[in-house]
Symmetry: C2
Subunit: 128 residues, 2 copies
């Protein structure tokens, strides 16, 4: 029985995901995501649909990321949680990237008592 | 008494907002937003906080937008709504812009029976 708040459960999900990214641990990165995830990523294309395409974004990321501390850090993570649906946003520092200053928005859904990531939007401001 | 579903109420809020953008109607654009909105926009900086800064993003937008049909069109708007919190995402076609193909994620909060936009994330994929 988990007595922690919805927000606490979501923060743990997000913290574990970000740690998995820093660790380059693909299995742990994919964990806790909805099969029909819609992702907007920093590089093109406009949209990625489903876990197969989601995984491919991380295969590309891991080719260039140095990994470890500072390689994928969420700053000012803010979670707004209801009992079934939640969203969150943070700034994202991506060490070793050509585009180190990014933004992240997440959509969450609770299914059978567990929170899942249903949507991710990663971006950087456009400079052109 | 409004008997429409949470999703229907949110779609109406978003449709009215997008129409207000096309109309260049600032007062209607600002309506239905939380005072402490956090916005990630297409141009820099990384983050805008609160309605004063939010309004400034639209003052800039209206300098360049031709307005009217096609100037700010949401495509494939998807809403995931709970009873108190919701999020949504769409593709965004911005006619007349240097960056016509964008993505939009929205966070919503219901307060005293009415839905408000609490968070907006507008972006384009990075091409550099």
């Amino acid at each position: 029985m988990n007595s922690s708040s919805n927000e606490d459960q979501i923060r743990l999900l997000v913290d574990n995901w970000a740690q998995a990214v820093r660790d380059g641990d693909m299995e742990a990165v994919l964990k806790g995501h909805m099969d029909n995830i819609v992702m907007f990523d920093v590089p093109p294309p406009l949209q990625f649909n489903g876990m197969k395409e989601y995984k491919e974004t991380w295969e590309l990321f891991f080719q260039y990321s140095p990994g470890g501390e500072g390689s994928f850090e969420l700053v000012d993570l803010n979670i707004t949680a209801g009992s079934e649906i939640a969203f969150g946003h943070a700034l994202l520092k991506i060490g070793g990237s050509k585009i180190p200053q990014c933004r992240l928005t997440l959509g969450f859904q609770k299914i059978d008592g567990a929170w899942f990531i249903a949507h991710e939007h990663h971006s950087a401001p456009s400079t052109n």
